[in-house]
């Protein structure tokens, strides 16, 4: 493993009851790289995320992060080592304001509520939602929630950011707004693994793309190659008659 | 040896009744997703009804059971319709406190109406002894046991074979989808609550001939029934049956061989151990345990 390798997933598999959700998937992510993960609903993308972030432990295979094995580490410890993630179904903490939501991860490493509040405001500002800071998190629109979710993940100070469909549900204009931001985060040295359905958007920001199909890697390569691969078109876009 | 056998028999006879009470709770818990802290009070009401029908009209418990059961079914339906249904979408905490309030209400309503006296239904037939190989039990206890077991099995059959049962199981699993495919969910909640209440009531009538009734007579059964339900698995009727018998045996065995004062501690210890080791119950439960906080 070179110094530049931030994440190395080797041959992970996971079964839930009768369903093989992830089957022998390997992926290596370099420092400052963006990898797009695509595939139809139910292809195992989120399950793969869960194996990396520690929500589930793999039945087989290993996960190494920043040079250390984390296969059996709990989610909190992984987050502390620098894996931040968003959830596909956005889950703002209810009963708390937007700013407080972002303060939660900031308070992991710093006990000063005042500093956390300031830092949270900076992050919200960066995502252009500073005006929402004092609103209760449960009353937001989907697009706003997604931003809060991203701000929260960024607040963990990640080296690797797992973005699970942050663009889903946004209209094309909003998508166009978010993409440069993702690049900006990457430019700060954060590696990004993102699940997306909007192939066009993923293509635009990804250095590489990986396609999952029913738990296995279908294709893995440069974006342009991936989207023109006939297997991808067949599996992901539907068969052409 | 005889002591052991007699202890086990006593425990199993008791356990049959626990199973019946627990099955009712299981139905309510599994289908309506309500932790009914007033379940024991339903048993208590039926015990009072049995007592009054016996003293006022000399109605044998084994006859009055046919009057009390439908009445209590109706009572359960009313409870569901007017107290529990309006808070179907509240948090589990709120539901707990409403049923707790209900339990306080029913206990003290009994106190207001009947006073604190201990009342016993003395039905001579039930008190006669039946003895095999030196192991004895009264007809009352044996009847209670047999009827309880028969009813649990009947309910099991109902859940497996009839449309009503299938609907109830579907509701226990996924009420939203059940509603989606055209099942009148609320109506079946009434049915489930009615059935659950009726089961508790039958248990109350059956233990009437050998247990005194007083306003707090049912309180004991609530936690006990929960222990059985957790032991046997949520939504698992057969599990409740076995869990009830098991718990009855644990209780008497602990009483006879350790100390009667620690009977209940043994029961709770089993409860906590099972919760920790196999929260889905020894015999497994339905898929939607998560909805009531069990996973």
């Amino acid at each position: 493993m070179t110094n530049a390798t931030i994440l190395k997933v080797e041959g992970v598999s996971k079964r839930f009851g009768g369903v093989q959700a992830v089957s022998d998937v390997s992926l290596t992510l370099q420092h400052g790289e963006i990898v797009g993960l695509i595939g139809a609903n139910g292809a195992g993308k989120t399950s793969f995320f869960n194996l990396i972030s520690g929500m589930h432990y793999p039945d087989a295979g290993s996960v190494a992060f920043a040079g250390g094995d984390i296969t059996r580490l709990d989610p909190a410890s992984r987050a502390r080592r620098g894996i931040g993630r968003t959830f596909q179904v956005v889950r703002p903490f209810t009963g708390m304001t937007v700013a407080e939501n972002v303060m939660v991860p900031l308070l992991v490493n710093d006990s000063s509520v005042r500093r956390a509040r300031l830092r949270a405001m900076e992050l919200l500002d960066e995502l252009s939602i500073a005006d929402l800071a004092k609103k209760p998190a449960e009353g937001l629109t989907l697009a706003q929630r997604k931003r809060v979710e991203v701000a929260r993940a960024l607040a963990t100070g990640p080296k690797l950011l797992l973005l699970d469909e942050v663009l889903a549900g946004l209209n094309s204009r909003e998508v166009i707004d978010v993409l440069p931001f993702i690049k900006k985060v990457r430019d700060r040295g954060v590696s990004i693994l993102m699940i997306e359905h909007l192939v066009s958007a993923v293509m635009e920001v990804s250095d590489r793309m990986m396609v999952l199909d029913r738990g296995s890697v279908l294709v893995h390569g440069l974006p342009a190659d991936v989207v023109s691969d006939p297997r991808v078109i067949a599996a992901y876009l539907g068969e052409e008659d | 040896m005889n002591l052991l056998v007699q202890t086990l028999v006593a425990g199993l006879l008791l356990g049959g009744v626990y199973a019946l009470i627990a099955v009712g709770l299981n139905l309510i818990f599994g289908v309506v997703k309500i932790i009914n802290f007033a379940h024991g009070e339903l048993v208590m009401i039926a015990m009072y009804a049995t007592f009054w029908m016996w003293t006022a009209w000399s109605l044998s418990p084994y006859i009055s059971i046919f009057i009390i059961t439908p009445l209590m079914f109706g009572f359960g339906v009313l409870l569901q319709r007017f107290i529990l249904q309006p808070m179907q979408n509240s948090s589990p905490t709120i539901k707990i406190f409403v049923t707790l309030g209900l339990s306080v209400l029913l206990q003290n309503l009994a106190l207001v109406l009947f006073g604190g006296q201990y009342r016993s239904t003395t039905f001579p037939w039930a008190e006669q002894n039946f003895s095999v190989l030196g192991v004895t039990a009264t007809y009352g206890r044996i009847t209670a046991f047999l009827v309880a077991i028969a009813l649990v099995i009947a309910l099991f059959y109902l859940m497996k074979k009839t449309l009503t049962g299938k609907v109830l199981r579907a509701l226990a699993e996924d009420r939203e989808t059940a509603g989606l495919i055209g099942i009148p969910v609320k109506k079946y909640y009434l049915v489930a609550m009615g059935l659950g209440t009726a089961m508790a009531a039958i248990a109350g009538v059956l233990i009437g001939p050998f247990q005194s009734v007083f306003p707090l007579a049912g309180a004991h059964f609530t936690l006990l029934a929960f222990v059985v339900v957790v032991l046997g698995g949520l939504g698992n009727m057969a599990g409740s049956l076995i869990g009830g018998l098991f718990l009855g045996a644990v209780e008497t065995l602990a009483g006879t061989y350790i100390d009667p004062a620690l009977q209940q501690v043994a029961v709770f210890a089993v409860f906590i151990i099972v919760l920790l080791v196999r929260p889905q119950g020894i015999f497994g439960g339905s898929a939607r345990n998560a909805e009531v906080g069990l996973k």
Partner: protein
């Protein structure tokens, strides 16, 4: 036959639909398309009555059913096959199907309806006594559609039918949808497989961010730039 006008809907405080309109006619296949989280499933939930519409109206055969209960809608013939199949896993295949026919249980024709479903899906007949939760994905989808058919739908809404299924099975399911439509049922499908969906549909709607963006014939949509942009990306 089914007309949805300017509906909006919320989950708690969060707005899920802003302004969705669509209309479907007597029979045939209609596709409801759009990117993930655009509000397709939510639209179906509003139509089938499990999520109340905050504004707008739903009419069925000229009758306003905006506030009708899900049961009433199923009885009218508006049937929803939910995303992820949502079978009752601990019940047998046959029990699942029988529950699908709950609304018509009193007309004594449940048996013949069941037979018809088995004719359409012979595999299910073999597995009739098996727990539905133990079936393969394709078989489960068959049960889900079969359960919907048991309610004698006039409009059958199928959400993400091809989700997680092998291509061959997907193909079968789509031809099945066409067959159902030919029998005089209107099938409203929510799909990700755009090509497949439009190939079997005669009409389609595209929803984005909780708003109906485009409505048109399948042909028109196939050629629409927006569809390509959303789905194909190139």
């Amino acid at each position: 036959m089914l007309q949805v006008k300017n509906i909006s809907a919320y989950y708690g405080d969060a707005q899920a639909l802003e302004n969705v309109s669509l209309a479907v006619s007597e029979s045939g296949v209609v596709a409801l398309l759009g990117p993930n989280a655009a509000g397709k499933s939510t639209t179906l939930r509003v139509i089938s009555g499990i999520l109340p519409a905050a504004s707008g109206s739903v009419t069925f055969n000229g009758e306003d059913i905006t506030t009708a209960s899900p049961q009433e809608r199923v009885e009218l013939g508006l049937v929803h096959v939910p995303e992820g199949r949502k079978l009752f896993g601990t019940l047998s295949v046959e029990d699942n199907l029988l529950l699908g026919g709950y609304c018509g249980r009193k007309d004594r024709k449940t048996g013949s309806r069941l037979e018809r479903v088995y004719e359409r899906f012979p595999k299910l007949k073999e597995r009739r006594n098996q727990d539905a939760g133990l079936l393969s994905g394709g078989e489960q989808q068959m049960v889900a559609v079969g359960r919907g058919l048991m309610a004698q739908p006039k409009v059958l809404m199928i959400d993400e039918m091809s989700l997680g299924l092998a291509p061959l099975i997907v193909k079968q399911m789509f031809s099945l949808v066409q067959e159902i439509a030919l029998e005089g049922v209107c099938v409203l499908i929510v799909e990700q497989h755009v090509q497949n969906a439009l190939a079997v549909s005669h009409h389609g709607f595209i929803i984005e961010s909780g708003v109906t963006r485009v409505a048109g014939t399948a042909q028109e949509l196939m050629e629409s730039a927006l569809v390509r942009e959303s789905y194909l990306g190139h």
